[in-house]
Amino acid sequence: MLLSKLISSLDLQPVVSGDDIEVTGGYVSDLMSDVLANAKSGNLWVTNQRHVNVVAVASLLGLSGVIVAGNAEPDENTVEKAQQEKVSLYKTTLSAFDVVGRLYELGVRAPK
């Protein structure tokens, strides 16, 4: 499914809009080392973390986007870095649990 379709279905607030690409799966974690080890290129990542290293991890893995859940505001340098790196970044008042539940309902699955 295309990223834009998922974003509008969940009514996520765009912070930085990057390329609208095919989402290959989903991952949820707040532990950067875990994401680095297990998320795959094109995955959509759900986290409560708002710091700049989120963008570093997303960019390194070539993720389709990052959803900062739980009504958290991404740090200023996180937004700047996402713009530079063209990483799609969204925020939402939904909890990480709800975001993942809805993504699952829409057919997004964990990476194999």
Binding site: D30, M32, S33, Q49, H51, V52, N53, A56, N77
Partner: protein, 245 residues
Amino acid sequence: MLSRYEADLHIHTLLSPCAEVEMIPPLIVRRAVEAGLDIIGIADHNSAENVGAVVEAAAGSSVKVIPGMECESAEGVHVLCLFEKVEQAESMQEVVYAALPNLVNQEGKLGQQMVVTAEAEFVRYNDRLLLASTSLSLDDIVAEVEARCGIAIPAHVDRRAYGLFGVLGFMPEGAGFPAVEVSSRMTAEEARKQHPDIADRAIIRSSDAHVLDDIGSARTVFHLEHRSVAEIKLAIAGVGGRMVE
């Protein structure tokens, strides 16, 4: 004139909920002397409320006490923060307290957090939840520590729990860390091999002691003109023959 000093820069007191109640200022100092340490750093979780007491307890002894704190960043990474003066550590503590969640410590679950005097007289329980991540990012912590002329060193980077490489998985680009701390489980050589991201940074080893017997179980040898944070920074930078062995 440079001298060789043995340091264990990461020691907890009974203010840390996970530390044993035996970690009182007079016993920490006595054990440090017995262990042949010249410098110790006091670093409780997100608090410096017992630092002054240990400094006082060490007055007249052979041990120099470096005031510090082990801050937990928003990323969940522990950072050893060391300062020249008790007041600087206490000023950092204000920043950290404002950045901690406003929650009460659950003594039954996490342990007691005791504030004591230099003679180990009980002052009060610190009922703030100290074992939590602050809202300060790693960059924020570095900036706050540097504003107080201190040094910020990612703690036990090799550990899965709360270590920089265990939690974050990499050294962030442009991170202001001139040194990293490795736990007693690993030598500096092993750490460099296992974590190439350490690059040319200096490596210190500390005990992270929560019990008296662990004090000095991992240590760092510095060549310094005298015992101060300013000198430790110069040693880490390798200035004027000063060095980390």
